[in-house]
């Protein structure tokens, strides 16, 4: 039984002896060229849309608007006068919240 099994295994391993090379179907190059042309066309469509002047202009404007917004926001945060105003208004808010409590606690009966 073992001998028979080993023989079968050897036969299977030797089945590749004298194997001929597989070849693709005829006109492989024609099909390859057609595929390359299809893929090139797909990229041409995408790039022709993205490179339209209106799209490029809109993209540049969008980037500029974002940059200006970021610059204005950061400059308002760094402005000392504005910072002081912010501090004062924060302090006022604190006082208005705490003052009634202080008066209540310290009010003479």
């Amino acid at each position: 039984m073992d001998q028979h099994l080993n023989k079968k295994i050897d036969e299977a391993l030797q089945s590749l002896d004298g194997i001929a090379k597989a070849t693709p179907r005829p006109f492989f190059f024609t099909r390859l060229e057609a595929r390359m042309q299809r893929e090139k066309s797909k990229w041409e469509v995408i790039s022709s849309f993205v490179l339209r002047p209106a799209i490029v202009f809109a993209g540049i404007c969008f980037i500029l608007v974002i940059n200006v917004a970021v610059i204005l926001t950061s400059s308002s945060l760094n402005n000392p006068a504005l910072q002081q105003n912010n501090e004062i208004s924060a302090a006022d808010e604190y006082n208005s919240v705490s003052a009634p409590l202080y008066e209540y606690v310290n009010a003479t009966p």
Binding site: K8, L13, I19, K21, T23, F29
Partner: protein, 187 residues
């Protein structure tokens, strides 16, 4: 036309040079692909992808190895990538099947018979190719290049960028693994 002239023309995207390259190596690429993928449609698809990759990446070819070695490397890489993607899809489909109410059985692909096998060996080679499919990637690569492409140890070591002794070791292990797998298949 010698190889360096061919490469120079390929870098200039010369159509005739590209056609000559494809016609010279299409059988090599297809035969290697079918050895890995065991499916004629997949082998044709991957063969096309190999030549597209060669066309797009020819600038990166420095001439340190033969052009055929470089093409073999691209072929092996594409085939192994394809097999990995196929395995992932199978795993995902299996998990989906666990959660769906669909009781359809998964359809197994038909048994693969390599077109170049002699008629008297076709039946028994089916079991061998099923076993080859289960080998780890490195062993499968060495085995396919040696037994199906009939490359020498030296040529395989250049493709796999390893030593001849490493290739020998891979082939020994591949043979042992195939014996175990075939034993399970025949019992």
């Amino acid at each position: 036309m010698n190889e360096s002239e061919l490469v120079a023309l390929l870098k200039l995207k010369d159509r005739q040079a590209f056609k000559e390259m494809v016609e010279t190596w299409q059988d090599m690429v297809y035969n290697t692909s079918i050895g890995f993928l065991q499916n004629e449609e997949d082998a044709e698809d991957i063969s096309q992808e190999v030549f597209i990759k060669v066309y797009q990446s020819i600038y990166s070819f420095k001439g340190q190895s033969k052009l055929s070695t470089w093409i073999y490397r691209i072929t092996v890489s594409k085939c192994l990538d394809h097999l990995r993607k196929k395995k992932r899809k199978k795993r995902f489909a299996f998990i989906q099947g666990l959660y769906s109410n669909d009781n359809n059985l998964a359809i197994e692909p038909p048994d693969f018979v390599h077109p170049g096998i002699k008629t008297e060996n076709k039946e028994i080679s089916i079991a061998l190719f099923k076993a080859i499919d289960k080998l780890p990637p490195n062993q499968k690569t060495a085995f396919v290049l040696n037994k199906i492409e009939e490359l020498s140890y030296h040529e395989i070591s250049e493709v796999m960028d390893s030593s001849e002794s490493a290739v020998d070791s891979l082939l020994q292990r591949a043979k042992k693994n195939l014996q175990v797998l075939l034993k399970d298949a025949f019992i």
